[in-house]
Symmetry: C2
């Protein structure tokens, strides 16, 4: 069975690692709506997280960044920013580890001669990742959040700097990027498109907003990122509430209505299955480590 996964950098990336480990015939389409140029470096946070999970380099406990990372450049950067007294936002609230910096430098340098899709393929090669990882687009499409007081904040400011404390009234995908060169093909060729337990608005929404993506998906299975009425990690629960959705697996299912035919919910939410209009798969979806991710992946694949 050919599976194409739509993923962000959180639970979706963990499921991708599990699917790869389970020997699944896999292609991954990754959100790039959070991409940002910081300190001159093109950072693709979700792509990198997926790559690091697939390469076995991630810090599973923290959920981002590399294991055994050092912070010499980052610490020095912060020292310089503080000592200089400059008043512009130097984005020193964003942490970039030394070895992680190498990834961003590699991407930024190679982008002078190649597309983001090609650069990501080169990074796959460098990291020994054989699963095709496709950025959703080679063109910029920026996810921004509009607060209830009308401010527009970019994703990293909302997520990292403000620690997702802003009350959000709307999520917008700025730009009219086309899907990456192999994205629609990967969706059409798949036996099933699997939407990971990622944030529906911030990780999956940007991919689905690209021209032609929804039409290229036929059979589609989604995994709820809301378990027992809470986000497993991150701000999906508060964001859904802000935007007027029910904060539950039922609320997520409603967001995906018309696209998804099978919905995976956690065992703790088994009693909500009858409220969901699609076919459901019930299993333990927690993935604290690689073994659990592999088990979850197998259960989902077996259940489809």
């Amino acid at each position: 069975m050919k599976v194409t996964v739509l993923a962000g950098g959180g639970g979706g990336a963990r499921l991708v690692a599990g699917l790869a480990n389970a020997g699944c015939d896999l292609t991954v389409v990754v959100n790039t709506g959070d991409d940002e140029v910081m300190r001159g470096l093109h950072i693709s946070p979700d792509v990198d997280t997926v790559l690091y999970y697939l390469a076995g380099l991630i810090d599973w406990q923290r959920g981002w960044g590399l294991q055994k990372e050092s912070l010499a450049a980052n610490d020095r950067y912060r020292e310089l920013v503080v000592a200089s007294g400059v008043e512009v936002d130097m984005q020193d609230w964003f942490t970039l580890g030394d070895r992680d910096l190498a990834t961003h430098m590699f991407r930024t340098q190679l982008l002078t001669a190649a597309s983001l899709t090609e650069v990501t393929a080169a990074l796959c090669g460098a990291l020994g990742v054989s699963v095709p990882v496709l950025p959703m687009s080679d063109e910029p499409q920026r996810t921004v959040l509009e607060t209830t007081s009308g401010d527009i904040v970019d994703f990293q400011t909302y997520f990292v700097r403000h620690q997702h404390r802003d009350e959000i009234g709307a999520v917008r995908y700025l730009g009219s990027a086309r899907p990456g060169p192999r994205v629609l093909e990967a969706l059409r060729d798949a036996d099933v498109v699997l939407i990971g337990p990622s944030n529906p608005m911030l990780s999956i929404g940007p991919i689905l907003a690209l021209d032609g993506v929804r039409d290229a998906i036929s059979r589609c299975v989604a995994v709820s990122p809301i378990v027992g009425g809470k986000a497993i990690k991150g701000p999906a629960d508060r964001l859904m509430a802000s935007l007027g959705h029910e904060v539950s697996c039922v609320g997520v299912a409603k967001v995906y209505e018309g696209l998804v035919d099978t919905f995976v919910i956690d065992a703790v939410d088994a009693d909500r299955a009858s409220e969901i209009s699609m076919r459901t798969i019930v299993c333990d979806t927690m993935m604290p480590g690689p073994d659990e991710a592999t088990r979850v992946a197998k259960e989902i694949i077996d259940g489809i």
Copy 2:
């Protein structure tokens, strides 16, 4: 006595450190013809070297980079480049230490909101450098070298990648950059303009090529970077030979004829003084460490 120094990143930067340490009323105008965007980062090699010398952070023995530097990001970058097998030049022959990276990230980030002159002032602040350090221009002017076989190579490729092995037929300064906002003023206001023992073609030539710079200089003292017929460091000797100049302090003096009125030569070249058309100062110009640099600075200032 107000002194404005024209400097590159080698002997000129050492003399600047010596002059500062000697308590001289100093402004420095630094070559930016070797500036380069590498891995997304705006690198100003000569500005950084001058700053690091002034801040007491330089590795004097090596002559570039910071003391006690780590290479986690750089080593990882090289690993990625090799493992990826990409065939474009990823400039992984250029070494960037972790703490040095912070300087380049600071510059690159702040350049989104400020000029190179302002960024350099902020770096001075961050590093506790009270001497005004002025990049020669806020606009790009690129030094390139034309080999005798007609190839055009950029400075870093010539200097670092090819280890200055190319036979050079001409040096060109591409662009029509204007001097930085305070450069002409610093030259006009100085009691003396001091040209450090820097490469005349690669470090000083780019500054002198800027519109209005030569006219703003009245009293001018230069220090020979050629001692005993050899460059103290770097390719100045071979480059001068390639370009048809005599490789000696006399040859350098000829390059500066019409601009410089007092020429500083090393004691080992004392017997060549009579061949030089300007007034000469003879002293030991070797600056292997900060104490010698201070002594040389004092001797030159006293001799002017």
